[in-house]
């Protein structure tokens, strides 16, 4: 058991922090907050390019595709430092692990170096109006026509669709096969004719949430596919194995800093806030109930961190997950909710003030977080689905 970082890793973390101190400024954060171009405007793109030039994106990905063939833990350090400012940089959650595992040589060369430079951005097209938690019930059809496939259907919550270059989507390719065995994954350019994006504004859109808010995104989308014709070479992995390719990719993508940091940053924020602030002379930091709760939440947050470290340790050892990934995905989002709701009771009426209001605490961060924290227990597999998986795959419980 080793709970510490090596001297090299500590030095690397200092390097990343120094880079952030020098390169992340208020105008970048303002650009991200404005939501223009999905928060990925020119300043963001310039930052990504600089980080990529340093070799800090996709560190654990193979050298031949632009990575460093390095340690997943180093990549995690980059992700963690940037994620603390609400900036998704580093490689996690990108869809790359599935492409590296199941893609053809051409696909890896086509996508991975571009993903590292920030030139290829995937929207995820999994969920449909009738298939959310029960993803295997998806109905979007891809029908073979010679060397092509023709796609009809729609995808929900394609959050990156308005700034993505491509969509990474699951379609039904064999309607007669058992549900899980008739699905394939396609990697499709967004400018393919027949793709239509309808904006969906979230409950975080008005007023916009301050940067760093858990699920503070103002916009997601639904995306329609109407006779979208793509060559068969867009398929990722073998035909009708998409369910398994996607599940594996999701599991690997889930590992990393973002899931955990999204759920624990408010713990740091509230402790640091109550230490330095008061309401008209009354300091919540002196209230015994507040103190007890903060200590409880801090401890829960440590468990979030340790669950992430356990997953990272497993990945670094090349092991496979039984229930550890699902456990992380139950604990962290629920913890985020505990903290956010407790904060609202610590701040009382101040916790209702939104971004832009007079008297708002931290630009309404905690108030906006109330609308987003539960969201991380819903998407990419709800906490209920995760508990099902823990019980069935991890503990061997029989199906109902």
């Amino acid at each position: 058991m080793d709970f510490g970082y090596t001297a090299e890793q500590e030095t690397f973390r200092q390097d990343v922090r120094a880079f952030i101190a020098e390169n992340v400024n208020q105008s970048l954060l303002d650009e991200m907050e404005s939501g223009e171009e999905g928060g990925r405007g020119p300043e963001y793109r310039a930052l990504v390019k600089k980080v990529a030039d340093l070799g800090w994106i996709g560190i654990s990905w193979p050298k031949e595709y632009g990575g460093q063939s390095g340690s997943r833990l180093d990549q995690y350090i980059v992700e963690e430092e940037f994620m603390r400012l609400g900036i998704g940089v580093g490689g996690a959650g990108s869809g790359a692990p599935a492409i590296l595992a199941a893609g053809t040589e051409e696909q890896k060369e086509q996508f991975i170096p571009g993903m590292i430079r920030g030139e290829v951005i995937f929207a995820l097209g999994f969920t449909e109006p009738q298939a959310g938690a029960d993803l295997a019930g998806l109905q979007c059809r891809a029908v073979r026509d010679g060397d092509d496939f023709v796609i009809n259907g729609q995808k929900m919550y394609t959050s990156a669709a308005h700034y993505a270059t491509h969509i990474y989507m699951m379609c039904r390719t064999d309607p007669d096969a058992p549900r899980h065995r008739g699905i394939s994954i396609f990697l499709i350019p967004m400018d393919t004719p027949g793709i239509t994006v309808r904006p969906l504004w979230t409950i975080q859109s008005d007023p916009p949430a301050p940067p760093g808010t858990t699920y503070g995104m103002a916009r997601t989308n639904e995306t329609f596919f109407e006779n979208v014709r793509v060559p068969a070479s867009c398929m990722l992995g073998e035909e009708n194995t998409g369910w398994y390719v996607g599940a594996m990719g999701l599991n690997l993508d889930r590992v990393g800093a973002s899931r955990y940091l999204i759920s624990v940053r408010r713990d740091e924020d509230i402790v640091n806030w109550v230490k330095e602030n008061d309401f008209g002379g009354h300091s919540p930091a002196e209230d015994p109930a507040v103190r007890d709760k903060l200590a409880e939440l801090w401890t829960e947050a440590q468990v979030c961190r340790l669950m992430t470290m356990r997953s990272m340790s497993l990945v670094e050892r090349g092991g496979t997950f039984t229930y550890e990934g699902s456990a992380e995905k139950v604990w962290a989002p629920e913890h985020g909710v505990h903290t956010t709701e407790a904060i609202s009771q610590m701040l009382g009426p101040y916790a209702q003030l939104l971004n832009g209001s007079e008297e708002a605490v931290e630009d309404g961060l905690f108030a906006h977080n109330l609308m987003g924290s539960f969201q991380s227990g819903i998407n990419h597999g709800s906490v209920q689905i995760m508990r099902d998986q823990m019980a069935r795959r991890g503990l061997g419980m029989p199906r109902g």
């Binding site: 669709a161 308005h162 700034y163 967004m190 309808r198 109407e226």
Partner: protein, 65 residues
């Protein structure tokens, strides 16, 4: 014109489908206030918004199109 089978409202399909702008990388973008749709049994059905579409999806058979 199409009809929202849940609330009965008339939906202008052309407006619901009309490209009002493009995404950063070239997909067609529509005006969300003009209604939404779903690909159902091989054809597109139109709705005034997510509320009606959600009701429809909960029990498609109870709404005659």
């Amino acid at each position: 014109m199409a009809k929202d089978v849940v609330c009965g409202k008339e939906i202008n399909e052309d407006q619901a489908r009309a490209e009002t702008s493009q995404t950063m990388h070239g997909a067609s973008e529509v005006d969300p206030t003009q209604g939404t749709r779903i690909f159902h049994n091989g054809s597109w059905m139109y709705f005034c918004g997510l509320d009606c579409r959600t009701k429809f999806l909960a029990s498609p058979d109870s709404f005659s199109s």
